[in-house]
């Protein structure tokens, strides 16, 4: 593990920016907002160049690795910051790994400059296997006609394009679809456990695309594998930041609330589980930065990423569960922030694999 001065700068800038731009009052206000985030702040994120971090310089990016996105994502998780950053970062990696050169030149500079792009990989089948696709592209007169339904498409109305996985001639493949080509009626906002997030169901039926919409079919498998790990690394970062925040939030309450004449944080029944939660958090963060550091290393990177996601899920799920409990009656109200973190943990764990899923994969990787 190691950090360059640039990485430390990024961590510090991300920490203060996210704290300033996503105070809890803003988070609460955005829960009721249809779009779910503040476009002006999103513009600032683009201006800061955060979407350019892991895009090579010749596509207008900064040329760092995916691991360098981690500090930003972690601070966004910490502040429950609502933006299309996660979906766009994933899409950039998909294009970079799986697109043709022309697609990269067309799409990546715009992303690096701040344009949102989304990913439509999930379906009703409830599978984490990104090859479990039934949506399809069938040859038509002018190209291909799409059919099927994608689910849990993040931030779709905000995106200029969406990367879609379909079967073509029985093979998994990715294609890029301008959202301008999607009818409003094909999109339905889904009701999520995490109210800070926005995801949509996308009906593909009848949409037509040209041959040039498709990514390089020879790279689909590698791209899906890469995207799976990117999503889990960034998910781990988001969960890890959330864990830090919910522990801080709970500690503050335990230091002020009194019962039976004593500040409740002095009761070991609350203190010791919080210490346990804190230890799980530190473990999660250590695994997160180890994964960020080794991301992309063959084999090692996959193990590190799966460990990080598994532990981050465990850490936030436990910390937020205890946070609700230890806030007592207030914890049972919508006004207590503990529920926001608990819902976040459920949501982010559900995307691309939870602790149980990754542990099962790890068993095959480390116990062979």
């Amino acid at each position: 593990m190691g950090t360059t001065p640039e990485q430390i700068d990024l961590l510090n800038v991300a920490t203060s920016f996210c704290r300033d731009k996503s105070p809890i009052a803003s988070v609460r206000t955005l829960l009721e907002n249809e779009l779910g985030y503040d476009p002006a702040v999103w513009q600032q994120i683009g201006d800061l160049g955060w979407l350019a971090i892991a895009i090579p310089e010749h596509y207008g990016g900064v040329g760092l690795g995916v691991g360098e996105i981690v500090p930003v994502m972690e601070q966004m998780g910490r502040t429950l910051f609502a933006t299309p950053f996660l979906s766009t970062s994933m899409a950039a990696q998909a294009i970079l790994k799986g697109g043709y050169e022309a697609q990269k030149q067309h799409l990546l500079p715009a992303i690096a400059a701040g344009q949102a792009v989304s990913m439509a990989l999930g379906e009703h089948n409830n599978e984490w296997d990104l090859h479990a696709i039934t949506a399809s592209a069938t040859r038509s007169k002018n190209g291909y006609i799409l059919s099927g339904t994608k689910t849990l498409v993040l931030d779709l109305p905000s995106a200029a394009h969406v990367i879609v996985s379909v079967k073509r001639d029985g093979q998994s493949t990715l294609l890029v679809l301008p959202t301008a080509d999607i009818a409003a009626t094909a999109i339905r906002r889904e009701r999520l456990i995490d109210e800070t997030k926005r995801a949509y169901e996308l009906k593909l039926d009848g949409i037509e695309v040209g041959e040039d919409a498709f990514f390089d079919p020879d790279k689909t498998a590698d791209t899906l594998a890469h995207i799976h790990l990117v999503a889990n690394l960034l998910g781990a970062a988001e969960l890890c930041g959330g864990t830090q925040a919910v522990i801080d939030y709970t500690v503050e309450y335990l230091n002020t609330r009194k019962q039976f004449g004593k500040v409740i944080g002095s009761y070991q029944a609350l203190k010791h589980p919080m210490v346990n939660a804190y230890i799980e958090y530190e473990k999660a963060r250590s695994l997160l930065y180890a994964a960020a550091n080794s991301f992309g290393e063959q084999g090692v990177g996959e193990i590190a990423t799966r460990m990080a996601k598994a532990q981050a899920d465990t850490a936030l799920s436990f910390a937020a569960d205890r946070s609700i409990q230890f806030h007592g009656g207030f914890g049972f109200t919508y006004d207590c922030d503990a529920q926001l973190y608990r819902r976040r943990a459920i949501f982010t764990a559900s995307q691309y694999g939870d602790a149980a899923f990754h542990k099962a994969k790890l068993a095959d990787l480390v116990l062979s």
Binding site: G122, R191, L192, I193, E201, Y267, I324, Q339, S350
Partner: protein, 399 residues
């Protein structure tokens, strides 16, 4: 079993078989604390009344006041039949499990005549006013002030976590009648309080689930009749503790039925059969199976414990152990099994209530969040462990 009990059992079986309602097109609450809409409230009120009128609620309460005048064995049979047919919960929980038993034990003849029948029929909804915003766990520190003025008390202060607060006709209230008492407990009194009087207002509290259900109740110079005093002035703590014993089922006398639905691991099992991942039903995942077996053992142990607790020679070393642990063990079980069921759902765990793509319409995450009402309310799990450590194991007090 006597022939007469036998006959009653057949009647109960018949009645619940024929009268248990089909699930309505809205989600029913799993516990009385989860009633959040008028639709749910009306449905459950109607159901409780039907059960009562059929003779299967309050069967062991005296017939002079509206009860069935039969034995506890009768009521237990009726409750078991209700459970077997998965009938909805009884709505008027505070009345049936707290107020009613207390009135029958220490209430005046007037109290009994006035209140018992309305409790059973759900005509008169009761709520409970123990907790205050600043004294959630520390009930003995209640500060709501009751000042005697002739035949009335004048109330000022606030109560919180009032279940059915906006529906209730009456409240059982723990109030401070003497702020100068030698210790905090001695200054408390226990008063039956009408809710529909000037100066009492309720405000709905939004739960972490996003729904409503509880209220906060505000008292501003509210005048209520002093004849609702239970016991003497200053006996409030003792009476409240007695009331909690009914609630914890550590003392008999409840009207019967149930106010919390069972959560059967078999329901999760069904979900695990119906949900596929990796192309296979998740019930085939050994980790899922292992966890479901743990839950099956746990609920079986709690159910067998309830039976064993009724056999004194088998609980002679620590006779209060099982009654005092059951709230803790059961509510934590409910929380954990809902959490587990939520985590089982894979990508679809992302969804919530009213999302068409959600599994079982989101009842598992909603149930998980609602479960905290029981691990927090009525004494948090942490307080329950103190109580068991102190009163069952005999360890020194922690505070």
């Amino acid at each position: 079993m006597s022939a007469e009990l036998d006959e009653y059992a057949r009647a109960a079986e018949d009645w619940f078989a024929n009268n248990t309602p089909a699930p309505p097109d809205f989600m029913l609450p799993l516990t009385f604390m989860e009633v959040g809409t008028d639709q749910q409230f009306d449905f459950l009120r109607h159901w409780q009344r039907a059960v009562y009128e059929a003779g299967f609620l309050g069967a062991a309460w005296p017939s002079a006041y509206g009860g069935g005048g039969l034995s506890q064995a009768h009521q237990d049979i009726a409750t078991a039949a209700m459970r077997r047919h998965h009938g909805p919960i009884m709505l008027n929980a505070i009345g049936l499990n707290w107020t009613g038993p207390l009135l029958l034990d220490i209430g005046t003849e007037t109290h009994k005549k006035k209140y018992i029948k309305g409790i059973l029929s759900a005509e008169d909804i009761w709520c409970q006013g123990f907790s205050e915003p600043d004294n959630g766990s520390d009930l003995g520190n209640a500060q709501l002030r009751a000042v005697r003025d002739g035949d009335t008390y004048v109330l000022n202060g606030s109560k919180i976590w009032t279940t059915h607060g906006h529906y209730a006709k009456y409240m059982i209230l723990l109030a401070r009648t003497n702020p100068d008492a030698p210790n905090k407990y001695a200054g408390l009194s226990f008063i039956l309080t009408p809710m529909k009087v000037d100066g009492i207002e309720t405000r709905k509290i939004r739960k972490l689930t996003g729904e409503h259900g509880f209220t906060q109740t505000f008292f501003n110079d509210a005048r209520i009749p002093a004849d609702g005093l239970m016991g003497a002035e200053g006996d409030g703590w003792k009476v409240a503790m007695q009331t909690l014993e009914y609630e914890r089922n550590a003392r008999g006398g409840q009207a019967g039925g149930y106010v919390l639905s069972d959560v059967d691991p078999l329901e999760v099992l069904q979900m695990a059969r119906d949900t596929k991942r990796g192309g296979k039903p998740i019930i085939e995942d050994p980790a899922v199976r292992a966890q479901l077996v743990e839950f099956a053992i746990e609920i079986q142990a709690l159910n067998m414990g309830a039976q064993r607790a009724k056999i004194p020679p088998l609980v002679q070393d620590r006779p209060h152990g099982i009654p005092l642990m059951s709230k803790l063990a059961y509510t934590e079980y409910v929380r954990r099994i809902h959490e587990f069921a939520t985590q089982l759902q894979g990508p679809k765990a992302a969804y919530y209530v009213d999302e068409p793509n959600a599994i079982d319409n989101g009842k598992w995450p909603r149930g998980y969040m609602n479960a905290f009402s029981a691990t927090i309310g009525g004494g948090t799990s942490q307080i329950q462990r103190n109580i068991i450590g102190d009163h069952v194991l005999g360890l020194p007090k922690s505070r």
